[in-house]
């Protein structure tokens, strides 16, 4: 049992993109804030902060999840991968190219989250159309680029 008091700064170590990041934090710090503020990994975007927009999506032990709905202190035993880590993945160039060719982004705010979900759930996964829609439904794009994004994702299955 580990008990971390409310207002104390307690050192924790998180494993992110193959590196160890150590910082003194309060237990209420969200994983998304730890990644941005303590690790300086600002590719993880923070939009709605209640699990709706999907901009903060990262991989925790290989599964795409909302980093704004997790506490940093809760994932000290996990392997976390952000968009910065995935950008070094061998599959990434194909994703980059598919998004470029299909005009799958405009302002780019939602893009890191979508790319994280795509690489976990779509790339090389032989998904049906409705499964791709289900994955993309977890992301809001306010430039309404969904058609372009769907074209890119279809190309990547």
């Amino acid at each position: 049992m580990e008990w971390i008091k409310a207002d104390t700064l307690t050192p924790v170590t998180l494993h992110v993109n193959g590196h160890r990041y150590r910082a003194a934090i309060e237990p209420r710090m969200l994983l998304s804030d730890f990644l941005r503020q303590e690790c300086g990994l600002t590719g993880t975007h923070v939009g709605c902060e209640h699990g709706v927009c999907g901009a903060c999506t990262v991989l925790v032990n290989g599964e795409a999840v909302r980093s704004c709905l997790m506490l940093a202190v809760s994932v000290t035993d996990a392997e976390i991968t952000t968009i910065e880590g995935l950008a070094r993945h061998p599959d990434f160039p194909a994703v980059y190219q598919a998004f470029t060719e299909n005009h799958a982004l405009q302002c780019g705010f939602c893009t890191p989250g979508i790319v994280v979900s795509a690489m976990a759930e779509v790339v090389g996964c032989k998904k049906q159309e409705e499964e791709i829609v289900d994955v993309l439904s977890g992301h809001l794009c306010r430039c309404t680029g969904y058609h372009g994004i769907m074209s890119a994702l279809r190309q990547l299955t």
């Binding site: 971390i4 999907g54 977890g138």
Partner: protein, 315 residues
């Protein structure tokens, strides 16, 4: 949009979790997947003094079929008494884990269908089955499905273990039979027999949103095509998911459009549909009439197809 301060206790055993919950001074709230709790913390709709993180209790993540004589549906004569096959779902089983399991298990098809309506793959990866049931949002899919299938919830505290039939589990808005010192440890879900008809329908503005209205149905018909038993559950209409008593009028009868319409109208007339932020009262009543009729017809059609195949197999 940041949580208020709380003490955080990560437990390594169930007994540690129960001892934390037993200390009423800590006012501890259980953190499982956090897909309902974290939004409430971020918006400060919840300000617990202590969070007890149970994510490392791997023993609570068991999933599999069990055969048991347990009477899970006390006080409900519409259930098929012959079926004793249950799906045992540990409280910490992730919704995505159950979704993948249910895809491969023919008798869990209704569970699979309903799960595809729960949030998004990214929230189902982390959200737990137990968490959704304990949160008891009146428009959430998993509570509706648990109630419609029938089953039992198991709770533990330092005082011991307790079982509650699902019909008594959901009590009001975000309120269940779980006492403050108790933790939900597992649930048993009745699996429909292979010949039972099943259907799930939901209406919402966008995929992944909470349901404006959801309905689930299981139905067994006889060789003569009369209804042998039928359960219809509704979500999003009251302070908790509801089992509809009016369907008893269809049991023992042949299926007719008039019978279905009579039931749908009786349900809609009995329930109170107030205006809410999503829709007006008259819209919700109209939607309920249509959705109830359509889920009943879909379950009957499924039951008929299965009964025909069943007859062929036996011939």
């Amino acid at each position: 949009m940041k949580p208020s301060a709380f003490d955080y206790i990560r437990v390594d055993t169930l007994d540690e979790a129960l001892s934390v919950l037993a200390d009423s001074d800590l006012e501890a709230k259980v953190l499982a997947g956090g897909q309902s709790l974290l939004p409430m913390l971020n918006m400060r709709l919840a300000r617990p003094k202590t969070l007890v993180d149970i994510n490392r209790l791997a023993a609570l993540a068991t999933l599999g079929r069990v055969e048991t004589d347990l009477a899970p549906t006390r006080g409900n004569p519409t259930i098929n008494r012959g079926s004793t096959t249950f799906l045992e779902v540990g409280a910490l089983v992730r919704q995505r884990q159950l979704e993948r399991y249910a895809l491969e298990e023919p008798r869990s098809r209704l569970i699979h269908t309903a799960l595809t309506y729960v949030g998004h793959p990214q929230t189902r990866n982390q959200g737990t089955v137990g968490g959704s049931l304990a949160h008891a949002d009146p428009s959430a899919e998993l509570p509706l499905l648990f109630l419609t299938l029938g089953g039992t919830a198991f709770m533990r505290s330092t005082r011991g273990e307790r079982q509650v039939a699902v019909e008594e589990f959901f009590q009001s808005y975000f309120t269940t039979a779980i006492e403050p010192d108790e933790m939900l440890t597992k649930t048993l879900w009745r699996l429909p027999a292979p010949e039972e008809g099943i259907a799930f329908k939901e209406y919402r503005r966008r995929h992944g949103d909470f349901a404006l209205l959801a309905a689930a149905c299981t139905m067994k018909i006889g060789r003569d095509r009369t209804v042998e038993h039928l359960r219809l559950g509704l979500g999003g209409v009251a302070d908790r998911p509801l089992l509809v008593d009016e369907v008893r009028g269809l049991v023992g009868e042949h299926w007719t459009k008039e019978g279905v319409r009579t039931v749908a109208e009786a349900v809609v007339n009995r329930l109170d549909f107030a205006d809410n932020y999503q829709a007006s009262s008259s819209y919700r009543r109209q939607l309920a009439t249509v959705l109830i009729s359509s889920v009943l017809d879909a379950a009957y059609e499924d039951a008929t197809a299965k009964e025909e195949n069943h007859g062929v197999d036996q011939g």
